[in-house]
Symmetry: C2
Subunit: 168 residues, 2 copies
DNA sequence: GGACAATTGTTGTCGTCAACAACAATCTTC
DNA sequence: GAAGATTGTTGTTGACGACAACAATTGTCC
């Protein structure tokens, strides 16, 4: 009859309210998720939101967001990369990367150097201040990673990284 | 060699390029991520993008996105909920939920019923077609979940759900 | 050597999504 | 009954992914 019966999924009927229009149980905790538990995507989405919010908060004083951090670390580890190469490596659209680099360049953390080999492309480098700033960002990022450990446990975090290693 | 190794920050110098402007190694695979591996947030973000894209593709014929699916399942399992309750349960802003319900209501999958108890709120219910449609969506969602299994392995998926159970 | 295709950076648009702020209608509380 | 909180709604902002188009440049093919 109900949709839940169709799939024979979770639990014995969603305990219908007597009056049909009634919405008396506003206790947000007792609301069943039905088929939603057991969906990896839902859990991953919620976790990703939590982890990004913690990252943004932990790096709030230096005003660096996760995507900016990823761009800086890649450039820091591989100086001279083109925008195209960075975009491909991080799975970012090159159109989007333009604005990201613009922002980081305005903050004097990154500089574009016109390549001699290929005059279409720009070689990306950290500035002097950019390198010292990145070092600080990394310390804060490690602090953030400790928060993750506290949230899901050290062993679980290790296992998680292992499971998802193929996506990096 | 584990992620903990990332703790030893910037240090061993990122093998600087000789010519400064040079961007010769456009081979996107050989670009190191440095501190990025070992960051749970990065792996989770990439995985979440992959999993959502597969969900959207798998449920492409019925034109249902992950957020819509989550709203439908919660309403289906808990008929009569208010928008506020659904928003709280799913971690969606109530402002955003308005448009989601608008869309689902236009598609005749959900209906708002003015509550007698609290005339501010609307009790949310699936329509008849909505229930049969949701049953189909769930079958497709299970197919999507099989794709996840094929991607990371059955055991890993189970472990993942277990690790992130606290976020549902 | 020259026409044609591909690549790089850039600009622009569109749609999704989270985060706020403000508002009218309605409930709750004192 | 007045003051404050809650619910649904509208609107704005900004980050983000997906596309499309374009100029400049490079690569390819005949």
């Amino acid at each position: 009859m109900t949709a839940s019966a169709a799939r024979a999924d979770t639990r014995p009927s969603p305990r219908k309210r007597a009056g049909n229009g009634a919405a008396r149980w506003n206790d947000a905790d007792e609301i069943g998720l039905d088929a939603l538990v057991g969906h990896a995507g839902y859990a991953v989405r919620r976790f990703q939101i939590w982890i990004f919010q913690d990252f943004i908060k932990t790096l709030g004083d230096v005003d660096i967001r996760p995507t900016q951090y990823s761009v800086l670390t890649v450039i820091g580890a591989n100086p001279g990369l083109s925008q195209m190469a960075v975009a491909k490596r991080l799975g970012i659209e090159r159109a989007r990367l333009v604005h990201l680099i613009d922002s980081l360049e305005q903050r004097k953390l990154v500089k574009r150097i016109k390549s001699k080999q290929d005059r279409r492309s720009h070689a990306l480098h950290l500035t002097g201040p950019g390198e010292t700033a990145l070092a600080k960002f990394k310390r804060l990022a490690i602090e953030h990673e400790r928060h993750v450990e506290e949230k899901i446990g050290k062993a679980n975090r290790e296992r998680l990284l292992q499971i998802l290693a193929g996506f990096t």
